[in-house]
Symmetry: none
Subunit: 200 residues, 4 copies
DNA sequence: GATGAATGAGGGTTCATTCAT
DNA sequence: TATGAATGAACCCTCATTCAT
């Protein structure tokens, strides 16, 4: 009944790692990394502390893998290249921006955890690397999107859009539900579409 | 040379508090709040651990007062109302934006500490309040600036500019020196000035 | 040799707890609760400070469990119901009173620790509850004893005898070895036996 | 307006010491000696910590002087020899016993503080001496009382009455207001008076 | 005499990590 | 692989006491 072959074993291990990561992520996101102890995580998952160390070398590595996992999962929410081909530029923008705003609303705590870790290098240097490499990737994708659309200076535009969206995230975290997330979203979408139209 | 009157005593105490705050801020900014121990701060300042507690009830209070102090100091870098009167709208924008970018460059670690604390409520709730109240104030000031300039929908514009600048901060923290801070700065300044010109 | 089954594990843990309790009790009794540090206890037992916290949530809980343990152990020194059946009233009295005096002499420090904790609620409220519930139990048993013997107003008599014995304890603690413990013991025993004989 | 002569100075100092003692006693009695800090006392009295050390060498000495003070004050509540002369034996007993019960009720916390300190030598050895010497004195007075009344074996009777009253104190502290203090008081008074009458 | 900032030893407690089972 | 007791360093904080003013 239990897995036998090496492959099965590997799969089983991966599954368990993912389980742990999800649990850890849940706690890190709500309580913060430093306020979450290894014991907390073990309790959350109903496993032993020692067992955790069979899957992760130490707490910081667990954090890094968890952040990596979360970022990859979040990326998957975004559009695949196939989608891009079939959509008009306007729709692509709408989809990208709306996807991001959805992430912001639905995974608020996770977003704030990751960004707060990312921007303060001094706290946990290793995680900074993990996040920035993914960030770079995302910006590149955004830039490609602008290129496909035929924007002049797509890189600069990608950087600016990325910054604007992150900034909205910050303000949303700080001001909470009183922040006019929706109207800003509409405003952005309209702005980009119009500005494009206005171009010669 | 030593203080005698009650006033001098009070002033002396305030001075010392500020000294401690500066030291703590230095360490919090570079190592992070959770990685900075009370001992570290005491050592940094060459005073005893116990002495710290004559000035601050506990570590979290020290953080809050430090953050408050830093934010107020940073605000003072911004323009006073007098300045606003004498400057043309274009110049005011330039000054505000440039002031912010200067802050970003010169107090990188401090900026990242504060924002990372601000956005993740779960880590230290109390500091979230301290920061958000100041943030609200800043947004209001920005909004007033837009009103004075005669922008339609100044509030929305203030929120957007605030978000954009914060977002640039994030990206700067993540990408580091490779981030094209200057070209973006110019781009923003030009953009705002042009967009205004385009208005009827 | 080492425990394997869950039952053995449980038993092993209970054993260790008891070991810690005995060590803590030894120190609390001689030095006092507040003068005994967690470090002291760990040293006494040749274990680490941290290990203690695997068995007891905190120092106060350890005290409470220790007191509880001591009181229960002391109670067991008293007579079982079987004994009562086989003895004449005179002998029961003798046994009870002598048992108490023996306790007083042989566990002097422990007795004084517990009573001193019990009577001053302000010091450690939690332990006051622990002790008073046991005290209530003891008084009830004493009352039942008087009922069995046929004393009129057994409750009142139980309270009075309890008070007298506690008072003797106090005086013994204060006056030390010069206190005529033995003669008083005899006096009490005789007094109760005679008074009973005088009843119709 | 301020005291000049040495005598006045001395008197002034004594007054202040007494003030401090009363404040300290208040806190010791309610919170316990170990839970009361020098700062607490200074705050209670609105004086500085440093000032306290002008009057008492250290905390333990303050406790000893406070206990001494309290015991002497309590003793003064008892009957003077003059009173004894004018009263019948029955009335003297009544007065002594009632005085003690009044003390128990009105200065509950103080009584429990002192007795708890007295019986546990390990906690604060010095105070044990302070209290036991006063206790000895009180027992002697009680013994003299019995002698005056013509009791055979007055010493033994004094010890027993002392013990009984202390024991009642303990039980009162443990059981609180549910303890039938009044009925026991009446019972004791009647008991002693009757037993005396019953003597040939 | 009065003050309260400074001290520094020590307090209880937490926690990531190890390791024997 | 799973366990959880054991560790020990580090943490935040308290406090009696001192001393310059």
């Amino acid at each position: 009944m239990s897995p036998r072959t090496e492959k099965q074993l590997e799969a089983h291990k991966k599954e368990k790692k993912e389980k742990i990561i999800r649990g850890a992520l849940r706690l890190f996101a709500t309580k913060g990394y430093f306020n979450t102890s290894i014991s907390d995580i073990a309790n959350e998952l109903n496993i032993s502390k020692g067992s955790l160390y069979n899957y992760f070398d130490n707490k910081e590595r667990l954090l890094n893998e968890a952040v990596d996992f979360a970022l990859k999962e979040a990326s998957e929410l975004n559009l695949s290249e196939d989608d891009l081909k079939d959509l008009s530029p306007e729709k692509i923008f709408k989809a990208v921006v709306e996807g991001y705003f959805k992430l912001l609303e639905e995974k608020k705590e996770l977003w704030s955890l990751i960004v707060s870790l990312a921007i303060h290098v001094g706290s946990i240097p290793s995680v900074h690397k993990t996040i920035s490499s993914i960030y770079e990737e995302l910006t590149k994708q955004l830039s490609e999107l602008f290129t496909m659309i035929g924007h002049h200076d797509p890189e600069n535009e990608a950087v600016k859009l990325g910054a604007l969206m992150d900034g909205i995230g910050i303000q949303y975290m700080i001001f909470g539900e009183s922040y006019p997330l929706n109207s800003i979203k509409e405003n952005i979408i309209k702005g980009y579409i119009n500005s494009k139209k206005n171009l010669p």
